[in-house]
């Protein structure tokens, strides 16, 4: 009797065990590694959960690696060991390395092979242009996207009799002076640490329609050379910034000081900052009670005509070495996150902008940009699409070792601001050192053709 009972229980357990994995085996599981952390990581996770619940065939396992850098390092290490995830997020600065690696399944080919018809023209020109090859092909999916905006304090501007943000840096200079005279200790807050120079160099050049490097900022060849130091507009702008800094119209705010420029703006201590639209939500949540603020597009310099700013953020790459079923799962996931409803949820819970026109139109039709916490974010799209895709100018920056180049620029700027080094000489040195990095990169990849 007892033996029979035990046998029955055993059989039951056995079937349960067998059935368990069998049911899971129907689903194709794929890994997706990303670099966002904190709140954004939670939002990515939610998006994955929504995808997993929306269908029964695939399961995407999303894992945050802590930061863009860590995610890229881990993905590379995994790839070299043959254990790479199916989908990996790579930041704007890491795009060139992965593009030259040959380690990926091009996004356009993947979607075609898996039977999806993607309208690549639906992507905003400023966004697709940044990630596309020199021939305009999309090898990855733009994911979290942002661009720089100018954040300004409406109340303090009202005190100096202004109801709009400066459209040019000349106007900004006058505003800073008036703000200072009106008793504000910190009209402009800025930072020149390693990761925060992109607003002042890359975006400045973009908005004013000037190249940073030859060969369309590197899109047309690895033999590009940095030329930002030869642009009189930029040199003159850095001199202006330095004189504002010396006259206490502009103040350096960063972690080492004890308050970042974003915190300084949110606390009402500083009146103007330049930062990503991705911080829009964060500033809204952390702003001092009653802080009356708005955003506008980055100012232009002198008589320069406004051009599109560059997109920042990251795109999703599909890596080589996986099965057909896994690629089907990846394609299905991309198809899911491209839905306008997903764009709305994504833009609502993060500060990132929709990457497709259809998503943007959907958000507009839902009245997203009319409501208080989100109003103003449409300016990011406007800023990214000033120039049409047909414009011959560069659509982004495609330089090897971009993070190291940014560090050289940051060190050059720090020498100017902190050690009072000569502006032109410092920018020249930084460019020269940057060019050495570019030549090294070119030599490393001398057997590879830039797509």
């Amino acid at each position: 009797m007892q033996a029979k009972l035990l046998g029955a229980v055993g059989a039951l357990l056995a079937t349960a065990f067998l059935a368990g994995p069998a049911a899971a085996a129907d689903k194709t599981k794929i890994d997706f590694w990303f670099g966002n952390s904190g709140d954004i990581a939670k939002r990515v996770q939610e998006q994955c959960d929504r995808f997993n619940q929306s269908q029964a065939d695939y399961e995407v396992v999303c894992t945050s690696q802590g930061s863009y850098d860590a995610s890229l390092q881990n993905t590379i290490a995994a790839f070299r060991a043959g254990k790479q995830p199916t989908i990996a997020q790579v930041s704007d600065a890491g795009t060139l390395d992965v593009m030259l690696s040959g380690a990926y399944y091009p996004a356009n080919k993947l979607m075609k092979d898996m039977g999806y018809d993607i309208n690549w023209n639906d992507y905003f020109s400023g966004i697709s242009g940044y990630y596309a090859t020199s021939k305009g092909e999309m090898y990855s999916f733009p994911f979290n996207s942002s661009t720089a905006l100018l954040y300004w304090n409406k109340d303090s501007f009202a005190k100096i009799g202004k109801d709009h943000a400066p459209a040019t840096w000349q106007e900004a200079a006058e505003d800073f002076k008036k703000l200072k005279d009106a008793g504000y200790a910190c009209p402009l807050a800025f930072d020149i640490s390693n990761n925060e120079v992109w607003q002042y160099i890359e975006q400045f050049e973009a908005v004013n329609g000037e190249p940073i490097a030859t060969k369309k900022n590197g899109f047309e060849g690895l033999d590009a050379e940095l030329i930002y130091n030869k642009n009189p507009l930029l040199v003159s702008f850095v001199k202006d910034l330095k004189s504002w800094y010396d006259n206490k119209l502009a103040v350096i705010k960063n972690k080492a000081v004890g308050q970042t420029f974003i915190e300084a703006f949110a606390a009402g201590d500083c009146q103007v900052i330049l930062t990503s639209v991705g911080d829009h939500g964060n500033i809204g949540r952390t702003a001092k009670e009653g802080l009356n603020w708005a955003v506008s597009m980055l100012p232009t310099y002198g008589d320069a005509k406004r051009h599109s700013s560059y997109v920042g953020g990251a795109s999703l790459w599909v890596l080589k070495g996986h099965s057909e079923a896994e690629y089907k799962a990846a394609a299905s996931f991309f198809n899911f996150i491209a839905k306008p409803e997903e764009a709305l949820t994504w833009s609502t819970v993060t500060g990132y902008i929709p990457v497709r026109n259809s998503g943007f139109e959907y958000l507009k039709s839902q009245g997203f940009y009319d409501k208080a916490p989100y109003a103003g974010r449409e300016l990011a799209i406007q800023s990214l699409t000033v120039t049409p895709l047909s414009d011959p100018g560069p659509k982004g920056v495609r330089l090897g070792g971009l993070l190291q180049i940014r560090t050289e620029i940051a060190n050059g700027l720090q020498a100017i601001f902190i050690n009072n080094a000569d502006v032109q000489a410092s920018l020249d040195t930084a460019a020269e050192r940057g060019n050495q990095i570019l030549r090294r990169f070119q030599q490393t990849y001398k057997n590879v053709q830039l797509p």
Binding site: D69, L72, Q73, I76, F79, R80, G94, D97, V98, L100, S101, G102, A103, S193, N194, I252, N254, K255, A256, V257, G258, Q259, G401, L403, Q404, T407, A410, N411, Q414, A415, I418, N419, R433, Q436, I437, R440, Q443, T444, Y445, K446, N447, V448
Partner: protein
């Protein structure tokens, strides 16, 4: 008759040593060999192949004045943090050894800092030393502009040296204290009876007896300050302002992991390794002579 356990053959001995040798091989020799190989090539990060470039990586580094700057900063950092960490630890250990009130608490409390991970430590010190919002901002209220590690390279260097030393004071303290407690009571008492006061005893008796520990800690501290400093620099200053705290090990991390320049970072690691080996040889050759082991 001598009673001693010996192995009949070297094979058995080697077998016992094998697990350790294997560990050392996997975690030291293998990666080092890989680094040496990469240092002579230009390695593509994603593994797409590499090109042999001979001594180019080294030539490029050694002809770069900025890299020489990093070397001299690393030396300044190593010497000053070792001096502070060992000096402070010695004083604390001598005081604790004198069994002043609460010495039992000090004995365990002083060890804690060593258990704190470098990034957490860096974060704490960044807060303490921040010129506008930190605890030290009081200084700036009294003398405006006196302390600003965010904008003054010298202050930034002082900040990372202080943070690093603080951690190693705890480590050194354990060694000093145990060495002091290993000095026979009878010796101390005999010296006291001969009329030598505490200070006299420190210089004529305790310090000479401590030289083996002093020497050991000197070697360890110098080595660690070249290698373990990167976490603190990364969190506190990221090498800035204007390269003022760009140490060799931080540059390796930045070029290798952030810049994906594996070969450049490998070449820098080799240079760092050679430098540490050289310094260690120097210490054994010239300083160890003055150590009395018995």
């Amino acid at each position: 008759m001598e009673k001693r356990v010996t192995f009949s053959s070297t094979t058995v001995g080697l077998l016992f040593a094998l697990p350790m040798l294997l560990l050392i091989f996997v975690f030291f020799y293998w990666p080092s060999a890989q680094a040496v190989y990469w240092a002579f090539t230009l390695e593509q990060p994603w593994g797409g192949g590499n090109a042999w470039v001979g001594f180019d990586n080294f030539r490029q580094l050694l002809s770069d004045p900025v890299y020489w700057g990093a070397i001299s900063r690393s030396l300044v950092f190593a010497l000053s943090s070792t001096a502070i960490a060992m000096g402070m630890a010695l004083i604390l250990a001598l005081l604790t050894d004198r069994e002043m009130r609460g010495h039992k608490i000090y004995r365990s409390v002083f060890i804690w800092p060593y258990a704190i991970a470098a990034p957490a430590l860096g974060l704490a010190f960044r807060f303490i030393l921040a010129p506008e919002a930190g605890l030290l901002s009081i200084i700036n209220q009294v003398w405006p502009g006196l302390w600003n590690p965010a904008l003054d390279g010298k202050d930034a260097m002082i900040a990372v040296i202080v943070a690093f030393s603080w951690k190693y004071i705890g480590y050194n303290f354990i060694f000093f204290l145990s060495a002091l407690q290993g000095i026979p009571r009878s010796l101390t008492e005999a010296a006291a009876m001969d009329g030598s006061g505490p200070l006299r005893r420190i210089f004529d008796m305790q310090l000479p007896l401590l030289t083996p520990t002093l020497f050991f800690l000197l070697v360890i501290n110098i080595t660690e300050s070249f290698q373990d400093s990167f976490g603190i620099v990364d969190v506190m200053t990221q090498g800035g302002p204007a390269r003022a705290t760009e140490l060799m090990v931080y540059k390796i991390y930045f070029d290798g992991f952030k810049g994906l320049d594996y070969s450049g970072a490998a070449a820098q690691s080799i240079i760092l390794m050679l430098l540490v080996i050289l310094l260690t040889i120097f210490q054994f050759r010239f300083i160890e002579r003055r150590v009395h082991y018995k």
